[in-house]
């Protein structure tokens, strides 16, 4: 028993080793290694163009790192892709929302790509939580951009993933929305989940939070 508990501690949920990213001939970062354990929340800091989005896309396996590895529970992401993707959710700054579909249909479509089902009353509950109660049969082009962001928040909650990777989750959200994201992150952490996020807005979380800062390696000869 002890051994098992020990090994669970030594193998982090997500680990990067000597990641390097080159974009348009600029070295964005190199030799970037960090770990993320269960229940840890990690903020990626850095100026515009320092490679935050590229890093998140590399972590997801959407972009290939120019060097280095990303490990999910100790194994290369490309090897355990299926398990990784079942437990990880990525929300980028693109809306992922179809204007011609209703809120409910959009959420269902997003959950379908993850092969997840959610009963209607659960969806309604979550919609109420993110402040979209009563909007479930409204086509999304009638919604404001903040409301569309909230659909993604509902998706985030319904997906029940252990690892959240969020690129600028506060974009287009009002004060209440920001507070909502903060509570969501806290509760996610309490439930043992982990998260990696970037943001330009100050996010005040009353809990321990690690940070990784991307330097300005740009424009240097590699």
């Amino acid at each position: 028993m002890m051994v098992e508990a020990d090994s669970a501690h030594t193998i982090p949920l997500l680990e990067t080793r000597q990641l390097e990213c080159v974009r348009d001939d600029r070295l964005l970062f190199s030799d970037l290694s960090f770990t993320l354990t269960e229940g840890e929340i990690l903020q990626i800091e850095g100026a515009n163009g320092s490679g935050k989005t590229s890093l998140l896309r590399i972590l997801c396996g959407l972009r290939l790192a120019d060097a280095g590895q990303v490990l999910w529970r100790g194994e290369e992401v490309s090897v355990v892709r299926e398990d990784y993707y079942a437990n990880m959710i990525y929300i980028g700054h693109l809306p992922c929302i179809k204007g011609d579909l209703t809120t409910l249909e959009n959420i269902r479509a997003l959950l379908d790509t993850r092969s997840q089902l959610a009963p209607l009353d659960e969806i309604e509950q979550v919609l109420a939580l993110v402040g979209l109660a009563g909007f479930d049969d409204v086509t999304s082009k009638a919604l404001s951009s903040g409301q569309r962001r909230r659909i993604l928040l509902a998706f985030l909650l319904l997906a029940k993933a252990r690892l959240w990777i969020l690129d600028e989750p506060l974009t287009a959200l009002d004060v209440e929305g920001v507070a909502l994201v903060e509570t969501m992150l806290l509760e996610h952490r309490l439930a043992g989940g982990s998260a990696i996020f970037t943001t330009h807005h100050g996010m005040q979380l009353p809990c321990a939070m690690s940070t990784v800062t991307l330097g300005r390696a740009g424009n240097q000869p590699c």
Binding site: R63, Y85, C96, D100, L110, T113, S115
Partner: protein, 223 residues
Amino acid sequence: MLKAFSHLLARDLRLAFRSRHELANPLIFFVLVVSLFPLAVAPSAELLQVMAPGVIWVSALLSVLLSLDRLFKQDYEDGSLDQLMLSPNPLVILVLAKVCAHWLLTGLPLVLVAPLLGMFLYVPDEAIGVLMLSLLLGTPVLSLVGAIGVSLTVAVNRGGVLLSLIVLPLYIPVLIFGANAVDVASDGLSVRGQLLFLGAVLALALSLAPLATAVALRITASR
């Protein structure tokens, strides 16, 4: 896995029917182009009859080509493509679902409207069936091979001409055998060989093109 396939197929079909005005565009284009030929050449029955298989097939090629964009463009731009790629399901299955939806929305209507155009161009009645059959076997290949092209060019601004440059040469075998089948059938000869060839190409495209498309999408997503 089957569920992932059918859910995505249903989503794409639903989306297409929500914007109905765009739905018929490839079909209208097809009919329009075909009906330009009698105006440009001459409405003489024997001339049009000779040209009919080629005209119909080339128009089908072009209208599929024009509709290819909607296969991935929208999903790429709004980020849904990223979500598809982060799905625990194999990407090949999802690609197949999208191509399937695309064919149902463009290829199948072309097959169904073909008899009308055959009549426009004096295709003999006994060749109409072959015309539909050749389109039925050929248009899925156009969607499948086209999917590779779009997934490679979806990130390119103004990639329309580029897409045709990439895709059209690959369409040539289907064009040759499809048009020839109709031509030969008009003379009342057997077209078994041509249809078997189209079937073989379809089987090949069905097994390889989704793989290539999946690889291409992963390359493109690496933005």
